[in-house]
């Protein structure tokens, strides 16, 4: 009983910011900070959710984020799972060294090499394009590592049996490895999609044109421009969370398993 009480209090504490966000998004601006807090507004101001789309090009930002998230996630799933298969199940010269380089790059803070990356992108004339962000995020070392850890746990006997039956490595990869790896692929999907959707610094550095900006930049723009209109800011923040909530709820079971397996095995 004690445990439940403690857990419920903690859960409320964890959720409180979100509940407050929902509540504030449905208020008139002058009621947001009214004391005592009215958690359920008597007259919900639904129009806040209509207004945000007209104040700034929020729909464009939303679309841009969606586009980047889908493209980058698909590319990452493809390139990472392909490479992870080789690292986990095939032998070739230089494999261990290459893998070490991948691991090393995960440990090195991105901020250490973000400036050279930026200079390189400018040389390639890709600054202020979506392609720059796609190229920077499509080849993830983390994705390779995550999937390799999972692929290793799949017994070699299954693969060897398929090889004896004359299946090519590509056939094994597509018809055996991928179908068996759904939890890991789901985990990488959430990790990547959430990271790209929530990415703030990448777009902050690379995107200048209004028509290219993403939802996180839009959100901050909103805060800066309408710094006093708290209800609208909360409505915009809430809208920016919706896709993540949907993805998370749909795949969370896989996600939790995925984290658990990477964490414990190291």
């Amino acid at each position: 009983m004690m445990t439940y009480a403690v857990l419920i209090i903690l859960a409320v504490f964890m959720l409180l910011p979100f509940l407050w966000m929902v509540s504030a998004s449905l208020k008139l601006d002058q009621d947001v900070f009214r004391v005592p807090i009215q958690w359920i507004p008597s007259k919900p101001v639904w129009s806040n959710f209509a207004t945000i789309w007209t104040r700034i090009p929020f729909l464009t930002f939303f679309g841009n984020s969606l586009k980047l998230t889908v493209i980058i996630t698909l590319l990452q799933l493809f390139t990472s799972s392909f490479a992870a298969y080789a690292f986990a199940k095939l032998k070739f010269p230089g494999r261990d060294w290459l893998f070490l380089a991948y691991i090393g790059s995960i440990a090195i803070p991105w901020q250490v090499y973000m400036v050279p990356q930026f200079i390189m992108m400018r040389r390639l004339d890709l600054v202020d394009t979506h392609l720059s962000l796609i190229l920077l995020q499509a080849f993830s070392a983390f994705g390779v590592f995550l999937l390799r850890q999972f692929f290793i746990s799949i017994p070699d006997e299954i693969l060897d049996a398929a090889r004896i039956d004359g299946m090519s490595e590509y056939g094994i990869f597509f018809r055996i490895m991928l179908p068996l790896s759904k939890p890991a692929l789901a985990t990488l999907t959430i990790f990547t999609a959430v990271a790209v959707w929530n990415d703030f610094m990448g777009p902050l550095i690379y995107l200048n044109s209004q028509s290219l900006k993403t939802i996180q930049l839009g959100l901050r723009m909103f805060i800066q421009q309408y710094g006093a209109d708290y209800a609208l800011i909360m409505a915009a923040a809430l809208v920016s969370l919706i896709p993540v909530v949907i993805l998370f709820v749909a795949l969370q079971r896989f996600f939790v398993e995925g984290i658990a397996s990477t964490g414990v095995k190291g």
Binding site: L7, V112, Y113, I190, M201, V264
Partner: protein
């Protein structure tokens, strides 16, 4: 790698050809990722090292600076403050997050109804957008009329802190927000580790007459050391890299109260266009992270207990 060279010396031409074909297939799997990874990650990493010894504004001639950038760091007051702030953030964020994550994991490791609900609840802040979360935090902790201070006033606190708007409280506010946001992720890693502890160990401890605290101290904690090690390494690295949260909550301020190293790197590069100098700050960050990670791995043998 050693088994490969053995095969090669004894292989007949036909075998060698099939061996090469195998390698070609293996490389064909890696190449799509490797090409992009090499161009967009490995090369910039190397370039970053070189740039730290250069002067460059991004437009004019690049020139050799030698160790000038690094000696300038010693006189750069903002750098010194950023370094201190980063260390304060790490020292606050790492232990608080770990203790909170372990506490939550222990609570959720009991047979409970609605365990998945709680797990999801505690985890959700981790996937929520930092910009959105930071805004809500700032509003909840709004100095004049925010709910937190309204509550404190109602409880009779005379001068509630001005939180992120106060030089003294800004870092504490940022650390609290960071713990709240990250704790769920590490909780899940602890939870998985707790669930892998064999119950027989607890039964044996019970036979020996161990009480709850002794079971925790002599069974649970030692069995959790691999997870604790993993978390401490990952969390330390992540804490040194803190940026988004600070950028949106305080922008490094008020004054320079939350100006951490990455904020300084960002400002130097993208506001002042001193690319060489910012790379040298990045190198300091890199070597600090590396040094601490190496120490952690060195210490690993002394306290981490693998079965």
């Amino acid at each position: 790698m050693s088994s490969l060279s053995l095969n090669q010396t004894t292989a007949s031409p036909g075998k060698r050809r099939s061996q090469l074909k195998k390698y070609a297939i293996a490389y064909s799997f890696i190449l799509p990722n490797l090409i992009g990874f090499a161009i967009f990650t490995l090369i910039p990493m190397g370039f970053s090292l070189v740039l730290a010894f250069m002067n460059w504004d991004g437009a004019n001639q690049i020139s050799w600076a030698g160790f000038d950038n690094f000696s300038r760091l010693l006189r750069d007051e903002t750098f010194r403050i950023s370094l201190t702030n980063t260390l304060i953030f790490v020292a606050g964020n790492v232990p608080l997050t770990m203790v909170a994550a372990l506490g939550l994991a222990m609570l959720l490791n009991q047979p409970l109804r609605g365990r998945n609900f709680f797990r999801t609840t505690f985890f959700f802040p981790y996937v929520a957008s930092l910009v959105a979360v930071a805004v809500v935090w700032n509003m909840l902790f709004f100095p004049s009329a925010g709910p937190v201070n309204s509550l404190l006033s109602a409880l009779g606190v005379q001068n509630p802190p001005r939180w992120s708007a106060s030089v003294d409280w800004a870092m504490i506010t940022v650390i609290l927000a960071s713990v709240w946001k990250g704790v769920g992720y590490y909780m899940i890693i602890y939870l998985a580790a707790l669930q892998s502890i064999p119950t027989i160990l607890y039964e044996a401890a019970a036979v020996d007459g161990a009480n709850a605290w002794q079971k925790f101290r002599y069974v649970t904690l030692p069995m959790l050391t691999p997870a604790t090690f993993f978390i401490s390494v990952m969390l330390t690295i992540a804490s040194f890299k803190v940026f988004d949260l600070i950028m949106v909550m305080t922008g490094g301020g008020p004054g320079r109260a939350t100006n951490v190293l990455v904020v300084h790197i960002y400002n130097t590069a993208f506001k002042e266009f001193r690319f060489g100098y910012s790379s040298s700050i990045a190198m300091v960050l890199l070597f600090m992270v590396l040094a601490i990670t190496v120490v952690q791995f060195y210490m690993e043998k002394r306290w981490v207990n693998y079965q």
